[in-house]
Subunit: 340 residues, 2 copies
DNA sequence: CTGTTAGCGCATTCAA
DNA sequence: TTGAATGCGCTAACAG
């Protein structure tokens, strides 16, 4: 039977209220009494029953998630996962609000961040654009005591308490290994397509990719990255142009969104045995993988990311830090055969 | 504010005790009263606060895990994860007992299963050998009302309530795709090494592998599977012999354990550019991947498996079924670059 | 068949 | 600076 506050009170020779004050670090207790209580705690090996505490306190965790809008399948899926989590709110004692902002608009992000009331919000998650104003706004919030986590794309220089997403440098390296192996010695160029180098996830993938390609597959060179703002039409145009004018292209790595455009361009071109690696499983990319148009998809499970973000935010709101092992988001590599 | 039992009692015009009886399906309530209460429940959209219920009931979940002993790194890691979960017992209201049995010994498994008291145990997890006696013992337990889940290796014909592990057919298919792509048209044989075809995970991997190889890479044939009982020494010997006598071997797929033996055999042989795919990240296999001896590792996260098993078992013990989406165990594909 | 009452482990008024 | 008493949402005796 694990010890309770009653046991602590008894062995320390004080009342429940005093035990509670010490446990929660509230003022108004003489140092000698504090010591007595703490002695009893460590003697009995007391650990607080968080569920009982939350019950007594009627604790709820008001959380805000800020997600870019727009047609991006992956982000829509992310939003859906947040909505699903919101549905489970009553059982998880959370109150989740989703704020949609225009994509690629740091100023809008900042505006929402600044509108957040530190008194009534116990945690914030956002898909960040890596710019100074956003970093500053995040830092301000953290300094006001509101834990902030980044989702999908990190804010490396900021005070955010956690990043819920994959290691994008490793993801880029993985893409390079796959493409290098799939080409097996055939010399040529790899066309790299990105959304925006202002997104830290995109720039990290690009650098990891280039590093491995240069070091391990010197027979392959890089064209790009060409930036498309994650717009499918732009992807289609830019890839189409590149394929026309660059007959030496043997592989394509799309490290951003807009896979639909890539698929269209490839179809128009009557694809000529390119090795193609892209990111994120969506209806389109899944079909392309099944059809053999894509050779591999690198994916992050945004359901995991959302659930992890919520766990981390709740834990930090209670002043404790969560099990990091459980919170690592994996780089999924999907071939046609292990698609879930 | 979400409704409580008090609200139900008030709108149904009955007492708390009656509400409780209806909610928990206890007998001794007139049908008309039951209806009244249920009407109130659905009217107010009541959902029970499980944490409060567990608090009041002093609920604990006594769980038994049955794991094969022996030197197998993966299984030792699995055991470690169960132990880690047991450490969190007090907070998760579980009481976890680990039973170690000799590996490849169905009779021992059956003996432990039969020793389990349905009155005092609320759930069982086991790494199963796919034999009739084990299936029968599992079915008996389930019929006695004890939920049983399989870990790592399933018992397809049984009444087990859930399987916590990867889709092994897909895993085998994935291995075949990787090996096929890595060999790129070079004809030859693939040596397939397994522990025992009595393990459903091994036999499923073998069949998935063979299917894809045959359909998509006809230039590659299969040698094996050779069975090693997951013993590293046996693996070393059998692989060594095969490499001596089979100069046409261009790739190796070890779908079982004993990677250490494989690594040794390859080293002795002065490895001649084989494509090598193995299962499970362990200290040895990780090193082999880093050294370029292995080309890919297919992995299952046994920490996830254990935590999933516990969630499922707890949920079933309470008569509810868990979110399946969250409980799917993924097939991890690790290259040198995305090793965690 | 139904209701009253006393807790589960903890937090929090309100007095002392 | 400390303690007694009440309640969070739910379950479980024990009465009626």
């Amino acid at each position: 039977m694990r010890p309770t506050v009653h046991d602590i009170a008894a062995t320390a020779g004080v009342s429940l209220a005093t035990v509670d004050r010490v446990l929660n670090g509230r003022p108004g207790v003489r140092q000698t009494t504090v010591d007595k209580v703490e002695a009893a705690v460590s003697l009995l090996g007391y650990v607080r029953d968080v569920t009982a505490a939350n019950l007594a306190r009627k604790r709820v965790y008001p959380l805000v998630f800020i997600v870019p809008g727009g047609p991006n399948s992956f982000l829509r899926n992310l939003t859906a996962e947040i909505t699903a989590a919101a549905q489970r709110s009553s059982i998880e004692r959370t109150v989740i609000r989703i704020e949609t902002v225009p994509p690629f608009d740091p100023a809008a992000l900042v505006r929402v961040l600044e509108s957040i009331d530190p008194q009534t919000v116990s945690g914030v998650g956002l898909v960040a654009t890596d710019t100074d104003d956003v970093t500053a706004a995040v830092n301000r919030l953290v300094e006001q005591g509101v834990p902030v986590v980044t989702l999908v794309s990190d804010l490396p220089g900021s005070q955010r308490v956690h990043y819920c997403g994959i290691d994008n440098i490793a993801a880029g390296r993985t893409a390079a290994s796959l493409i290098g192996r799939f080409c097996t010695g055939r010399p040529g160029k790899v066309l790299v397509v990105a959304g925006s180098m202002k997104l830290s996830d995109h720039s990290e993938r690009a650098s990891g990719f280039a590093a491995v390609l240069e070091a391990e597959f010197p027979e392959l060179g890089v064209i790009g990255p060409v930036e498309t703002n994650d717009d499918a039409d732009t992807v289609r145009q830019r890839v189409g142009m590149a394929l026309e004018t660059g007959p030496e292209i043997v592989a394509i790595y799309n490290l951003g969104a807009g896979n639909r455009g890539l698929i269209d361009a490839l179809a128009q071109h009557g694809h000529r045995n390119f090795a193609v690696v892209a990111h994120e499983v969506t209806p389109h990319s899944r079909q392309a993988l099944a059809d053999g148009v894509f050779d591999a998809i690198i994916n992050q499970d945004c359901g995991h990311e959302v659930r992890s973000a919520i766990r981390v935010l709740k834990a930090r709101a209670d002043g404790l830090d969560p099990l990091t092992a459980q919170e690592r988001i994996r780089i999924d590599v999907f071939l046609r055969d292990n698609l879930p």
